[in-house]
Symmetry: C2
């Protein structure tokens, strides 16, 4: 039996203790509702202080920061299960923006209720800390990539991460996973120019390792991809909780 907040799974049963009936009720009070947004809709704005927290249910988006000169850095892609807006809940305001790349369905929580929820259900503090450590792990990997990997290694690494994550989410069908972003988005995530990103993607296709076109990413030689990306398959990617 799986406990869940209707369509919004609170967590994976494999990794967390099941919730009591009381907790489920509290969770449902905590949840405000669902929100459907169209592609291109801004979800969070840098400098704002939105009263809401989101969990992505379906669709994809990006979290990003911008420099005064206009350059944009994509921090992470947003996939189903990702949690958005915690910063504004804790710090004075958001430090990054987020935008829907495709149509998205979001699970909306009321920020002010978050602390009430944690206070009445203290063991969830562990969950949050866990979530935090996992997030920190991924950001650290990004830093490693941006700082030390070559263009080819970066793209291979990104494909590998995305592939593993979406596969773990059960979004693999036939030989591909959905990756509806623009090449510009990947370029901004990897700190590369659009042109060079394009040429590097092509290189991976020519090597018959991975192909990304029409919003579909397919990896045909995952071992080779790991070799190129200088990384071992990351088990942690599968552990990301669905809060």
């Amino acid at each position: 039996m799986r406990y869940s907040c209707r369509s919004c799974p609170l967590r994976k049963q494999e990794f967390f203790a099941p919730m009591s009936g009381d907790e489920i009720q509290a969770m449902q009070r905590f949840k405000v509702g669902e929100l459907a947004v169209e592609a291109g809709t801004p979800l969070l704005m840098e400098g704002s202080n939105s009263p809401q927290l989101f969990t992505a249910l379906s669709g994809q988006g990006v979290r990003y920061k911008t420099l005064p000169n206009g350059r944009r850095q994509v921090i992470t892609f947003v996939f189903p299960g990702d949690f958005l807006g915690l910063q504004a809940g804790v710090m004075a305001e958001m430090q990054h923006s987020a935008e829907a790349t495709t149509d998205m369905l979001l699970c909306v929580f009321d920020r002010s209720e978050l602390w009430t929820f944690f206070r009445t259900h203290p063991e969830r503090g562990y969950d949050m800390t866990w979530l935090c450590a996992v997030e920190e792990h991924f950001l650290g990997e990004s830093i490693l990539t941006l700082g030390q990997r070559s263009a080819l290694e970066r793209v291979a690494w990104a494909f590998l991460q995305i592939w593993a994550r979406l596969e773990a989410l059960g979004l693999r069908q036939d030989g591909w996973v959905p990756l509806p972003h623009r090449q510009q988005d990947l370029a901004d995530a990897l700190g590369l120019s659009l042109v060079h990103t394009n040429k590097t993607i092509r290189q991976l296709r020519n090597m018959q390792v991975a192909t990304w076109s029409d919003g579909r990413l397919s990896v045909s030689d995952i071992d080779r991809l790991e070799e190129i990306a200088q990384t071992e398959r990351d088990e942690a990617v599968r552990l990301r909780p669905l809060f």
Copy 2:
């Protein structure tokens, strides 16, 4: 009156509710002791699963990851007040290493007690989440820097961050703050080569903006530094908690 875990301040009173007598007692049981290490000592090892958590009390160090080909990425510099080893407490093992650059004094906690502590003092889950959001903010800034800033911008940004942080810690004396790392460490943190980092530091010195030599960083024109780094002074840097 300030409550504290002896020399290890649990938190800044400005941002957190004071602790009850019970909590202080629990905190002292949680604390195992202090640890003095020499410069060069490894504190955490990637892939290991150390049973301890640390808070830096004095001295400086680095947290870093390495690629199979040997390249090293410094994730953050470790300053007094920084918390180390949470990952291993939550995930299976550490995902990065840490090393003391100078002699350091550390406050040691027992990992297994952490959860007990949080369970008995649930409101500290908030603190941990807060700490997490702040950390995430800084890692996000690093990603922005590595992805989008030029070499000169990167070094200026780093100097600014370090200056603000150490100043907030009260470590500024006369016109300088202590920065005992090697140029190689900064290079590895910024994703630049040693040689180019050296030349860029020199450039900032020639511009009479900032000087770093003999382990002392002095900023003579902080406004200019912000301009170059493409950033506004970051208030968040001052909010980092001393857990």
